[in-house]
């Protein structure tokens, strides 16, 4: 069990095995390696809370709740990186934010997690991928 404080959720306790390890951090944020996923009650959204920085929490969601037919076509590099043994262990999440009146989902830099090893990586998709905006 580890205990850590967060700005939004107070002091949290979590089993070690609930921690998702992004061993290279997120893109441009190499020090953010340990995260925990928190379901936001009664919504399809989750918080990806940094274990080592109380202020940092991303809002994430499965791409399926935003658009139909989003596919990441994960390449061998990502699968090797995550030591993926079973395709069914792949969990893909996209980061959401607000810009003015729009909600922006980062479809080009999805988070990919191996649910069994709890290793994660933020991948960058090569093909041009429109950042989908949705007016609230």
């Amino acid at each position: 069990m580890i205990k850590f404080s967060t700005t939004r959720f107070g002091v949290l306790e979590a089993d070690e095995e609930k921690i998702i390890n992004f061993s290279d951090g997120l893109v441009g944020l190499p020090d953010l390696k340990r995260f925990i996923l928190i379901d936001h009650k009664d919504t399809p959204l989750k918080w990806l809370q940094a274990v080592d920085d109380p202020d940092i929490a991303f809002i994430v969601a499965s791409p399926d709740i935003i658009v139909d037919g989003y596919s990441t076509d994960l390449d061998r590099t990502v699968k090797n990186y995550l030591q993926l043994e079973n395709e069914n262990d792949i969990v893909v999440l996209v980061i959401l934010r607000v810009s003015g009146e729009d909600v922006i989902a980062n479809f080009q830099g999805p988070l990919v997690i191996n649910a069994s090893s709890r290793k994660g990586v933020q991948t960058i998709l090569e093909r041009s991928h429109k950042t989908i905006q949705k007016t609230s």
Binding site: V27, L29, T43, I56, I95, R97, Q108, I124
Partner: protein, 76 residues
């Protein structure tokens, strides 16, 4: 920054495991081939910067914005 001159089909080595080869030079474009370990992640710099900036803008979202996002997605 180290600057090296290479011709088409010539390479540089980064350590023991990474080789970058100039595959083709055409006008002001250079095609590069990269041979690297399978788990090494390689990005075009402009995409890397774009995702990095997105991350920075997304890492500390206040609760009011959470509500906005939740409301917007409720209407898929």
């Amino acid at each position: 920054m180290l600057v090296l001159t290479r011709k088409s089909n010539e390479s540089i080595k980064l350590g023991d495991d990474i080789t970058i080869t100039v595959v083709e030079i055409k006008g002001n474009s250079v095609r590069l081939g990269i041979k690297a370990p399978g788990s090494l992640r390689i990005f075009r710099e402009e995409l890397y910067e774009k995702i990095k900036n997105e991350n920075i803008m997304s890492l500390n979202i206040p609760m009011e914005e959470f509500e906005k996002i939740n409301k917007a997605l409720g209407s898929k």
